[in-house]
Symmetry: C2
Subunit: 220 residues, 2 copies
């Protein structure tokens, strides 16, 4: 499974529809690249050049640059969120679900620094983004609190604390890339599980379990 898959074109009937969808996908991809590089102050001409589409076709899809960048961010977050959701949907223990999410997100961020910068540059917007990642996280944390496995004031604040922590660690790793961070990331995941209320020994044990089958080899 590719959890950072490409943007899927909308389903349009006919050749014209397919071409239109391809143009939109190219613009979205260019937008994601520019956000990742911190170059959102470019001209629309630069965007269409990067996307290798005609200048005028931009306006068939977006009214403004900001609209494109918003869509580009939203689609990247959403496709990533769905991938992670599928990864933990069969996990019964919410501590394991959180641990897997934390460890996989940081591994993906290390493997795809461009995508990771897209998220860390957006700062708090990533935490507030109301999509699949947030919904899945709130669901898992909420179930953990309800069952008494987690002792946190509520799912929203726990999500803010854990999600913020994750952003902080990804920001740090982007600025200081190391060759081997797996052990570091797993230790931090244990810290997150302790924060949620698990005893140290159990937290360490869960944070060092093998990642599930669904995680692609490159992120293991």
């Amino acid at each position: 499974m590719n959890i950072v898959h490409g943007i899927q074109g909308a389903s349009h009937a006919g050749r014209h529809g397919r071409r239109k969808a391809a143009t939109r996908a190219a613009l979205i991809q260019a937008g994601q690249q520019l956000i990742a590089e911190g170059r959102t102050d470019v001209s629309i001409a630069t965007i269409t050049e990067l996307a290798d589409v005609g200048f005028g076709s931009f306006y068939n899809h977006f009214k403004t640059k900001d609209q494109l960048f918003e869509a580009a961010f939203a689609e990247a977050m959403e496709s990533f969120g769905h991938g992670l959701g599928r990864l933990v949907e069969d996990v019964d223990d919410m501590a394991r679900a959180v641990s897997i999410g934390f460890r996989v997100i940081i591994r993906v961020a290390r493997a795809k620094p461009g995508f990771a910068s897209l998220v860390t540059r957006s700062g708090s917007a990533a935490l507030q983004f109301d999509g699949a990642l947030r919904r899945t996280s709130l669901h898992c944390i909420g179930r953990g609190i309800d069952s008494g496995r987690f002792s946190m004031p509520g799912p929203e604040t726990a999500f803010a604390a854990i999600g913020g922590s994750l952003l902080g660690v990804v920001t740090y790793l982007l600025g200081d890339p190391m060759s081997d961070t797996d052990e570091l990331v797993d230790s931090l995941a244990a810290g997150v599980l302790r924060m949620l209320g698990l005893p140290d020994e159990e937290a360490r044990s869960i944070a060092h379990e093998d990642l599930p089958e669904g995680v692609p080899e490159e992120y293991r």
Copy 2:
């Protein structure tokens, strides 16, 4: 003690020097206000109008808007960091120092939402900012790790995880202000102490201690 005090003008001799310092302070303050409001795309004329200084005087202090905004951000972070440093300098237990820092920062953020947005809008830049806050935090976390009180991979990553968590919680509280968040914040501080390796009961007890004398009444 005022831990979010105003910007101190540089010490210049004579009336001209004092006026120049006052102009710079007014520009810096205007810059901080605009960053907090997310309005960094304004003209220099708007900045000098807000600062109530002559248009031309801007260029006596800064070459570009970006230079002003950078200085405004840096001075706010620095003055806040020094205030917090003084607050924990006599605290011997590093778990208590971290707890006080976490609880006071969120209380200040709640009392000064403009200042808080200045930090959360900057996103990861706040964590990377190499100033007093970062130095004090790394010092405290490092001492805690060396003494065996904290079990985290290293001060830098622990700072990234805790600082990110703090930013996440502040972002959440800015978007959803509640009348009484003290209990919530103290619970989250307990979570941070657990993350650092303290057992649950001790973490809760320390996170609910009275804040030190030096904390102004408005942040208690």
